[in-house]
Symmetry: C3
Subunit: 359 residues, 3 copies
C-alpha cells in the first residue's frame, strides 16, 4: 500500500500503539478500530483496563454492544460471555465450551493517561518496548503533561507519520501559524536507532515570538534546538529547547533538564494508530517545563498547536482524497528533505518485513 513499496505492507503488528485515553475507557464498552480490526475496551470492577477482539466469534456481532457482568463481557446477541483474558466463561445455550470459542485478548498497559495496546503475538508483548514515559517527558519531575485531543483522521496513517517527520513543510503548510524559514532552512542532524529516529536542528541567535518571550520572561535573542523524535511504529515527539544565546553546542540534549542556561522546553506528543486502510486514530498530548501553574498558558499553547495539527490533518486528508479519486496508480518524487521521513518509513517497513519473516 502506498507509500510503502510492497503492496502487501499494511500494518506493523508486533508493536505497541496507543489505543485510547485512560478516561475514554470505563464500565461502558467502547469500540475502537485498530489495524483493520474492531477492538472493544472496558474496565473491570477494580478498574483494570481490558482490550478484547470487538467481534464475537460466534456470529460477528460487535462486542461493544454487549453488557458487562462483573468483569466479564456478555455478547448482546446470544449472551456468550468472555472473561478479561478472552476465555469464554459461559454459553447460555450449552454447557460445553468449544475450544475455538474465545476472544483474542490484547495486552494492554496503562501509563500516564494512555492505554498502550500490543497488536502482535501476546507472548511477545514486552512492556520495555513502550517508549519510556520519563524519557518522553509525559511523566517527569519538572514537567507538566496535559492531555490534548483526538482526531479520527480520514487518511492512511503513513501520510501522517511522514508529515510529522518532515520539517520542510513548516514554512508552507503552516505559513500562518508556526512556519518559520529558520527551521526549514537549518541543517538537520540525524540520530538513528533500531526503533528510534531523531532529527535535530540547532539555531543560534534567533528571535523569539512575543508569546514565548512573555511566558519565559526573557527578551532578546535566543538559541533554539528543535527536535522531532520518532519512536516506531507510531509515536512522534516534537520538541523545542529555548536557551540563552551562546548556549547551543555547549549543551548535550540529555543535560537540558534543570540547566540554568535553558529558559524552557515543551514537547508535543503525536500518537498515530492505524484504524483501517484509510482511517487513523490520532491522539495528541503536550508537556512543558515553564509556567506550569498558569492554565492560560496551557490554553494558548493548545490553541496554537490545534491550529497547526488541523493543517496537518487537512493535508493528509486532501492527499488521501486525491489518491482515491485519481484513476492512475500513485507515484511520488522523493527529495533530499524527504530523507528523514523516508528513513522513518524504511524503519517501519523493516519492522513489517521482520514480522513476516518470523511468521
Amino acid at each position: 500500500m502506498y507509500p510503502f513499496k510492497d503492496d502487501d505492507c499494511d500494518y506493523a503488528r508486533g508493536q505497541w500503539y496507543v489505543a485510547a485515553w485512560s478516561d475514554e475507557v470505563s464500565r461502558t464498552p467502547l469500540e475502537r478500530w485498530i489495524l483493520g480490526e474492531p477492538v472493544v475496551l472496558y474496565r473491570t470492577e477494580t478498574g483494570l483496563p481490558v482490550a478484547l477482539d470487538g467481534r464475537c466469534p460466534h456470529r460477528n456481532f460487535p462486542m461493544s454492544k454487549g453488557v458487562l457482568r462483573g468483569d466479564d463481557l456478555e455478547c448482546g446477541y446470544h449472551g456468550i460471555t468472555f472473561a478479561p483474558d478472552g476465555t469464554c466463561v459461559r454459553i447460555p445455550s450449552q454447557a460445553a465450551i468449544p475450544s475455538g470459542c474465545k476472544l483474542r485478548a490484547y495486552p494492554l498497559i496503562e501509563k500516564w493517561k494512555l492505554l498502550w495496546i500490543w497488536t502482535g503475538e501476546p507472548d511477545k508483548a514486552d512492556p520495555a518496548l513502550i517508549p519510556d514515559h520519563e524519557e518522553i517527558r509525559l511523566e517527569k519531575e519538572g514537567w507538566l503533561a496535559t492531555q490534548g485531543f483526538t482526531v479520527m483522521l480520514n487518511s492512511r496513517y503513513q501520510l501522517l507519520n511522514e508529515n510529522l517527520m518532515d520539517i520542510s513543510h513548516l514554512s508552507y503548510l503552516h505559513a500562518g501559524t508556526i512556519g518559520t524559514q529558520a527551521v526549514a532552512g537549518t541543517d538537520v542532524q540525524i540520530i538513528d536507532g533500531p526503533r528510534f529516529l531523531r532529527g535535530t536542528r540547532r539555531i543560534s541567535n534567533d528571535s523569539i515570538t512575543g508569546f514565548f518571550a512573555e511566558v519565559l520572561g526573557y527578551n532578546g535573542n535566543i538559541d533554539r534546538e528543535v527536535l522531532i523524535d520518532y519512536y516506531a511504529p507510531g509515536l512522534h515527539v516534537a520538541w523545542e529547547i529555548f536557551m540563552k544565546p551562546g548556549t547551543i553546542g555547549t549543551l548535550d540534549t540529555l543535560g537540558t533538564d534543570g540547566n540554568p542556561n535553558v529558559l524552557g522546553m515543551y514537547r508535543v506528543h503525536h500518537m498515530v494508530t492505524p484504524a483501517t486502510r484509510d482511517k487513523t486514530n490520532y491522539f495528541i498530548a503536550y508537556s512543558r517545563t515553564f509556567a506550569r501553574d498558569d492554565t492560560s498558558v496551557t490554553d494558548t499553547m493548545t490553541s496554537v498547536f490545534t491550529s497547526v495539527i488541523m493543517q496537518d490533518v487537512e493535508a493528509s486528508e486532501a492527499i488521501e482524497q486525491l489518491l482515491a479519486k485519481r484513476e492512475a496508480a500513485p507515484t511520488e518524487l522523493l527529495l533530499r528533505a524527504d530523507g528523514h521521513s523516508v528513513r522513518g518509513r524504511r524503519k517501519l517497513e523493516a519492522l513489517m518485513q521482520q514480522e513476516r519473516a518470523q511468521a
Copy 2:
C-alpha cells in the same frame, strides 16, 4: 457469499418471494429491487398487478420512471412500450420490433394483502409452491390478520433469515422486550420437510404476562407452545399457543383451532426478500385469534413486535457494517443452538445448488 459456504451462492432464484404489499402497487409504477435486479410493479386498468423488469433493454433507463398507457408501460426515455406480459407493443421510432425487445415479466400472484413474485423461469412458476395462506393463518376463519410494516434492511438477507430461526438470542438481544429464559432454555423439537422447517418449544405451567392475561381473560399459570416455521426461501412464521395448564402434550398443533383448552394464539409473519447483496426487503404481518374486534389490542401488539423487530434489524445491520469494515474474511463459530438456523441455511443452499444443477 458469507454465511453460505460457496462464494458464488447469492440468491435462490426459482422461488416465490413477497414483492410488495397490495396497497403499494397502483397506477403509479413502483420500483423495487429484488435479487439484484430492479423490478417495476403496477396495476392494469382492471386492477391486475404486473411485475416487469425495471430496466428498459434499450438504454438501461429505469422503467419505474415510465408512464402507463392503458395497461401498457411506456418507457420515459424513448417511449418504447411494453404490455403486461413484457412483449413490446410499440417502438415510436420504428415499425419493426426486434425479437430481443421485451421485458422479463415476472409471474405475480396476489393473495391476501401480499404480492408474491416468482424469480425463476416463468414456466416453472407453480402457485402451489406459495405457502398456503390458510395454513399460515393469513386467511382463515377465526383469525384476524393485519398488515404490519416494511423495513429496507441494510444487510444481506441471510443474516436476518438466521436471526429469525434462532431462539437462543431472545433472552439477550430482546432482554428488554420479549426475552424470557423459559423459551431459550427449553429444548427444541424440529419438524423437517423439503422446503419447510419447524422448531417447536413446549413449556408447561409457565406464568403469563399481564398484557396477555388481560386480553385472554385468564389469570393463573398456563401451558405455552412457541413455534417458528420456516417456509423456504423467505417466509418465517413465529407463533405462540396459550393453553390451559395440563393441555400441552395432549394436543396436536394441527388441532388447536377451536379447541376449548386453547386460550388464544397469535402469529407474526416475517417475509424476507433479497434486494441486493447487502440490502433486503423485509415485510411484517400479524394474525391472532383473540380480541379480534379490539383495535387497541392490535395497537399494543404492533407496538411490542415493532420494538422486537427493530432490535433484529439493528443486529443484522451491525453485523453487516462490521463485516464490511473489517479487512479480514468473515468467519463464524457454530454452536449447538445454531443447529436450527443452519439447518434452514442448508435447505436454502440445497435449493440454490439444485437450481444450478438444472441450469
Copy 3:
C-alpha cells in the same frame, strides 16, 4: 467501459475539451477533474490562462491548494514552485532540481468565453482541431452568444454524449417541454466527416409556438430545420432554423445567415468533458440571431433550455445509478434510431483506437 465495446476504452486523450469558462479562472487556483486526473487552472499576472497537473509530483498534494507567486504556482505543502510551463523553478529545501520534478502542462487556448484544454501529447496540440468558433456561431456577426451554466453530472460522459445525439427521446423525456412528435417523426439526414457528424431534420409547414411567434414577429405556419452537430470528442451544437413556408429544400444550410426567408436561428452548445469514470463536466452556451437586444428573450430561452437540459441530466444519472446498483453486467438493445448516436460512439471509439495504435 459500457457503452464502449472495449472495457479498456475510457477516454479519447489526444483531443481538445472545454476545461472551464473564462470567468471561472482567475488568480485563485481552481481544481477541475479532467479524464481521471486533477487539473489546476489559474491566470498569470498578465491574464494568460494556465492549466497544470493538479497533483504535486512530490507528495500528491493538490496543487489547487497552492499559492501564486507572480506567474508561478507554489505547492501549499512544501513550497515547490512551478512555472506556467510546468518546469520547477524552486525547491525550497534544495538547490538542485531533479529532472522528474515538473508538472504536466496542458496546452490551453482561450476562445470566446471558453478555455479549451488539450489532453494528449503537447506537441500534437493543433489549435486547428478546436471547432471553429465562427462556424459554431459563438463568435459571428449577426449572432448573440451567451454563457449558460455548468453541471457536475454524476454519470459517465458517454451516456450524455449519446443522449445529445439522440432526437428520438424528445417526445418522451421532454414531453412537458420541447418534445414534439414532428421532430422525432421526421427522417434524419446524416452528414458525416472524420471528426464531425450532423443529423438534420427538415419539417415543412409546421406550427410555431407562441413564444417563437412573438420573438420572430411572425404568425402562421413555418418551415423548420432542426440540426444536431457533433464535433468529436465533446461538443454538440443543437440548432434550429425558422423559415418562411416553402423555403425548406431551396436553401442550403450554409446560406442561412442573412437570408430574407430565414426568420431566425438559435443554437445550444453542449460541451461535454469527462471528469472521472462516473462524473462529467457539462458546460452549456447559447447563441441566436433574433431579438439580440432583448434580455428578456435571453431569460426565457435560458429558462426553457435549463428545464430540458436538467431532464437529460436526470436521465443520464438515473441510468448511471441503475448500472451501479445492478449486479449483472450492462447490456443494451440498439434500435434504428440509435444509428445516429452509435455512429457518434464509433467515431469516438475510432479516435481512442487510433490513439492507442500510435502509443
